[in-house]
C-alpha cells in the first residue's frame, strides 16, 4: 500500500506492509504513477515489513527509471527487512542511499567490495 504527499516540491512516498510477488503487479503500477512526473521522489521504506525478490526488483526499477529520465529517487529509512535483502544481494552500493542505523539493532554497513 502506498501513501504519498508533497513537501517542498518533493514527493514523499510511504510504502507500507509487504512488497511481495503476490502484490507486485499493483505495487508496480502505484509506484510508477508516483514517478510519472519525473520529479524528485523520496521513497520511505520504514514500514516495509516484508520484501522478496519481486519487491526488490521494483526498487531497482524505480532507481533505473530515475537515472534514465535524469531525476532523483531516494530511498530513506530502510526497514530491517529491506536492509536484510540489500545485504543479501549486496545492493546498497547500487542504490547509493545512506543506510540509517536503526536504533533497535546495529546493522553492519554493507561493503561495496
Amino acid at each position: 500500500m502506498i501513501r504519498h504527499k508533497t513537501k517542498k516540491g518533493i514527493l514523499t512516498v510511504h510504502i507500507e506492509g509487504h512488497m511481495l510477488i503476490r502484490n507486485a503487479v499493483e505495487m508496480k503500477s502505484e509506484l510508477m504513477s508516483c514517478l510519472a512526473q519525473k520529479n524528485e521522489v523520496e521513497l520511505n521504506l520504514s514500514l516495509v515489513n516484508e520484501i522478496d525478490i519481486a519487491g526488490l526488483q521494483l526498487l531497482i526499477l524505480a532507481k533505473k527509471e530515475a537515472s534514465l529520465h535524469q531525476f532523483n529517487v531516494r530511498l530513506v529509512e530502510h526497514s530491517n527487512a529491506v536492509i536484510e535483502i540489500f545485504d543479501l544481494c549486496n545492493l546498497s552500493a547500487f542504490f547509493g542511499d545512506p543506510l540509517m542505523l536503526s536504533s533497535s539493532k546495529a546493522i553492519p554497513q554493507a561493503s561495496s567490495a
Partner: protein, 728 residues
C-alpha cells in the same frame, strides 16, 4: 508461496521414493557387475539429489544420514573402497533406512522413534568403517591435486564462482531465488555477490512477476561441486546455474562469459568485481582464446588441436544436452494425478455407460431414425471414452516385478542358494488395483519356489544341473486376461508325496487316481504342506490357500504344472480390469445374462435335431470336436418353458472350451460390473451383476468357475467309472 510449498514437498517425497527405488535397482545391478562405473554414478547421483533436495527443505536428519552414505559412495567411485557383497548389503539397508526417514521426517513431519534411531546408529557405525579406512590416502591425493592444478595457468582465486540466472517463470512457480542465497550462506560463506539487473527492461515493458535479476557469487565452501550443484537441482529448468570450482582454468570463465546473456565486456567486468578473476587473468584468457580461433593456423594443426581437446568436451556437452532433453521430455509426457480422481472418473464413466444404454433403448422404442442415429453416435463415443478411461489406470507390471529382485537376492542369501531372477514381459499392462493386490501373492509364490522348488547348489550339481538356480517371472496378455507365470528350474513337485498326504487327510479317496493336474492343485488347499522341514520362510502349509483366495478375489485363477526334476510353473490368470468389460448379452426365459465377450469364441444355433440328442448326452459334436454343454436354464433353474429355439455360445477359458446353451442372443453390451453383496459371495457361476438400459438387472456369468465345474463333474464321472470297474 506457502500454498506451493506443500506441492513442492509432495513432489520431493515422490521423487525421493523413485530415486531410492532406482538406487536399489542399481545397487543390485552393481552387485552382479561391480566394474560398471555408470551404475555407480547413478547410485551416487540418486543419493546426492535426495540430500540436495532435503537441504532445501531443511530436513536435517535426512541430510546428515545421506551425507555419510554419499561419502562412502564417493569413495567407491574413486576406487578407494572395494565393491563387495557386504558393502552392497549395507547400502541396501541404508536405502531402506532413508526410505523410512523420508516417510517419517518428510511425509509425517515427525522424529524417528527409538528403534529407528538405534538402527541408524548401527548403520552409521558400519558405514564409518568404509569412510575412514583410507582417509590419510585421500587427503594426500587432494593435496596432490591442488598442487598439480596450480601449476598450469589457472586463476588464483580460491573461491567457487557461482553464476545464477533465472527463467521468466521462476517466481510464478513459487520458487524464491533468494532462498538459494540464504541456503548457500548456511552451507558456506558468500564472500562476494553481485546482483545483475542488466536484463531488466524499461518500466513500461517490465513485468513485475518475472525475475530479471541474476547473481555472480564468490563462494567459500569445503563442499564438492556436485554438492553445490544439488542445491539448485530442484529448480531444474527454472535456473541457469554455472559453477566454477576454485583454481579453475581461465578458459572456464571465458566459457561462462559466452554462456551468459550479458555482453562479454560487461561480464568480464562483473567477474573482476566479484573477485573471480583479476584484470590480468581476464586479459590473458581472452588473448589465449583469440589465438585459438585465429584462422591463420594450418588446417591440419587445427584438426590436431581439435582432435586433442574437442571430443571429450563436445561429447560431454552433447551428453548433457541430451540428458536435459530427455528429462524435459519425460516431464512433459507425464502428469501426476491422484488415483482417487481416476477412480471417480471411472465410476462416472460407468454411470455414463448405463445411462447411455437407457437412452438408446428409449430411442429404439421411439422409432425415430434421427434420434436413433444420434444415440448410436453417442454410444460409440461413450465406448471410446470408456476404453480411454480404463487405459489411464493401466500400469506396466514391470515395477512390481523389479521389486522382487531384492527379495530374491535376500532370500537366496538366507537360504545359501544361488538364484537368478529373470524377468520378461515387464511391459505388460494391467489395472492399477490389480497390480497393487497381486504383489503379495506373487511374493509368496516366489518365496515358495525358492524355498521348496530350487534345490541347494550341491544337490543341483549332483542332478547334473548348473549350481545357479533360475526363477523366471513372465507376463503376457491372453484373451482378455493377463497371465503371470512363475517358472523355476528346481526339483518340481513330488507327485507321490502330495497324493499320500492328500489320502492321509482324506482329500482323495484311497482307490481314486486323480490326474497330475488335480494332484498339483491340491497344494492350494488350506493347511496343506508336504515340506519335510518347516523353515521360517514357508512350509507351514499356510499361504498357498491364501494365495489362491487372494487371486480368486481378483476374479483370477491359479494353476500349477510340474515336471519331476525339471521344475514347476505356476500360472496366474487375471482379468485385465475390475470395473467395466465388453459383455455378450444372452437371454434365458425372461432373464438376461452377460458373458464376458473376450471369452466368447463363436455362436452356433442348436438345431431341432441336436436339441433332442443333446438333452441327454450333454455334449455337442462341433466340427468333429467334443464340446461339453452347460444348459444355463438348468444351471440357474429358470422355470419358464423352453423358447422356440436355442443357441450355443462357445466360450473358452485357458485350455478348456465349453458351450453355454441359451434361448436368445441379444448382442454385445457394455457391462459395468456391480459386485454382488456378501450374501451371494458363496454363489458359484456368477461373478457379479450389471444394470441394463431398461433398468433390469442381468447377472454376469463366471465362465471360469462354470467351466471348472463341468470339468470336475466329468472327471468325477470317470472316477466313478474307475471305481465301479475296480469293484467288479
Amino acid at each position: 508461496m506457502s500454498i506451493n510449498f506443500d506441492q513442492i514437498l509432495q513432489t520431493f517425497i515422490v521423487e525421493a521414493k523413485d530415486l531410492l527405488q532406482e538406487m536399489e535397482e542399481s545397487l543390485l545391478q552393481l552387485e552382479s557387475d561391480p566394474s560398471d562405473n555408470d551404475i555407480l554414478g547413478a547410485i551416487f547421483r540418486a543419493a546426492h539429489t535426495i540430500k540436495g533436495s532435503a537441504g532445501l527443505f531443511g530436513f536435517d536428519p535426512i541430510i546428515s544420514f545421506t551425507h555419510i552414505v554419499e561419502d562412502v559412495l564417493d569413495r567407491m567411485r574413486d576406487g578407494k573402497v572395494a565393491i563387495a557383497g557386504e558393502l552392497i548389503a549395507l547400502l541396501l539397508e541404508c536405502g531402506d533406512h532413508m526410505q523410512h526417514l523420508i516417510a517419517v521426517v518428510a511425509a509425517q513431519g515427525q522424529e524417528l522413534d527409538q528403534t529407528a534411531t538405534e538402527r541408524e546408529k548401527l548403520l552409521r557405525q558400519r558405514l564409518h568403517v568404509y569412510e575412514t579406512n583410507s582417509a590419510v590416502h585421500s587427503i594426500a591425493t587432494t593435496e596432490l591435486n591442488s598442487v598439480h592444478i596450480l601449476e598450469e595457468g589457472n586463476v588464483a582465486s580460491d573461491l567457487w564462482h557461482i553464476s545464477l540466472r533465472f527463467s521468466e517463470d521462476v517466481l510464478r512457480n513459487g520458487i524464491n531465488p533468494l532462498s538459494f542465497l540464504r541456503y548457500l550462506n548456511s552451507q558456506g560463506t558468500i564472500i562476494h555477490i553481485i546482483s545483475v539487473s542488466d536484463n531488466m527492461p524499461v518500466a513500461s515493458a517490465m513485468n513485475p512477476e518475472i525475475c530479471y535479476l541474476g547473481f555472480e557469487i564468490g563462494y567459500q565452501s569445503e563442499a564438492e561441486k556436485s554438492d553445490i550443484a544439488d542445491i539448485f537441482e530442484f529448480v531444474g529448468d527454472d535456473c541457469l546455474v554455472n559453477i566454477i570450482p576454485p583454481h579453475s582454468k581461465i578458459a572456464e570463465y571465458i566459457d561462462l562469459i559466452h554462456k551468459l546473456p550479458e555482453t562479454p565486456s560487461r561480464l568480464g567486468e562483473l567477474l573482476i568485481k566479484s573477485g573471480a578473476l583479476t584484470q590480468h587473468e581476464l586479459e590473458k584468457g581472452l588473448q589465449q582464446q583469440n589465438k585459438q580461433f585465429k584462422p591463420a593456423l594450418p588446417l591440419g594443426e587445427i584438426l590436431v588441436q581439435q582432435g586433442a581437446v574437442q571430443p571429450v568436451v563436445v561429447q560431454a556437452a552433447l551428453e548433457k544436452q541430451t540428458q536435459i532433453q530427455d528429462n524435459k521430455n519425460k516431464e512433459s509426457h507425464y502428469v501426476r494425478v491422484h488415483a482417487d480422481k481416476l477412480d471417480q472418473l471411472i465410476n462416472l464413466v460407468g454411470e455414463l455407460v448405463i445411462a447411455g444404454a437407457g437412452a438408446s433403448l428409449l430411442a429404439r422404442n421411439c422409432e425415430n431414425d434421427a434420434l436413433q442415429e444420434a444415440t448410436s453416435i453417442v454410444s460409440g463415443l461413450v465406448e471410446e471414452i470408456r476404453d480411454g478411461a480404463l487405459r489411464l489406470r493401466m500400469v506396466p507390471i514391470g515395477d512390481t516385478f523389479n521389486r522382487f529382485q531384492r527379495v530374491v537376492r535376500d532370500v537366496s542369501l538366507e537360504l545359501g542358494k544361488d538364484i537368478e531372477l529373470v524377468i520378461s514381459g515387464a511391459d505388460t499392462e494391467l489395472d492399477k488395483t490389480v497390480v497393487e493386490k497381486i504383489g503379495d501373492p506373487l511374493l509368496h509364490l516366489l518365496r515358495n519356489a525358492m524355498d521348496h522348488g530350487i534345490e541347494a547348489p550341491a544337490v543341483r550339481q549332483a542332478a547334473g544341473k548348473s549350481a545357479k538356480g533360475k526363477l523366471h517371472l513372465n507376463a503376457y496378455h491372453d484373451s482378455g486376461s493377463i497371465v503371470i507365470e512363475i517358472v523355476d528350474d528346481g526339483a518340481g513337485l513330488n507327485r507321490e508325496r502330495i497324493l499320500d498326504k492328500a489320502r492321509e487327510r482324506g482329500l482323495v479317496a484311497a482307490n481314486v487316481t486323480p490326474s497330475d493336474q488335480e494332484i498339483f492343485n491340491l497344494i492350494f488347499e488350506a493347511g496343506f504342506s508336504t515340506a519335510a522341514a518347516v523353515t521360517n520362510l514357508s512350509g507351514r502349509g499356510v499361504g498357498m490357500d491364501v494365495v489362491k483366495r487372494n487371486i480368486t478375489a481378483l476374479r483370477g485363477t491359479v494353476d500349477l504344472d510340474s515336471e519331476a526334476g525339471r521344475g514347476a510353473t505356476v500360472r496366474i490368470r487375471l482379468p485385465l480390469t475390475l470395473a467395466i468389460i465388453d459383455g455378450f448379452l444372452v437371454g434365458v426365459g425372461q432373464s438376461s445374462y452377460v458373458i464376458p465377450l473376450d471369452m466368447v469364441q463363436e455362436c452356433v444355433e442348436l438345431s431341432e435335431q441336436d436339441r433332442l440328442v443333446t438333452r441327454e448326452r450333454r455334449y455337442l459334436n462341433l466340427r468333429g470336436e467334443v464340446l461339453p454343454l452347460i444348459f444355463l436354464r438348468d444351471q440357474f433353474n429358470v422355470g419358464e418353458p423352453t423358447g422356440r429355439r436355442e443357441n450355443v455360445v462357445v466360450v473358452h477359458f485357458g485350455d478348456h472350451k465349453a458351450g453355454l446353451v441359451v434361448d436368445e442372443l441379444q448382442g454385445e453390451f457394455q457391462t459395468v460390473i456391480k459386485p454382488l453383496g456378501k450374501l451371494f459371495s458363496a454363489l458359484r457361476g456368477i461373478s457379479g451383476s450389471t444394470i441394463l438400459g431398461s433398468g433390469a438387472v442381468a447377472l454376469i456369468i463366471d465362465v471360469p468357475s462354470l467351466v471348472k465345474q463341468i470339468v470336475h463333474h466329468e472327471t468325477n464321472a470317470v472316477n466313478q467309472l474307475q471305481l465301479s470297474v475296480v469293484n467288479q
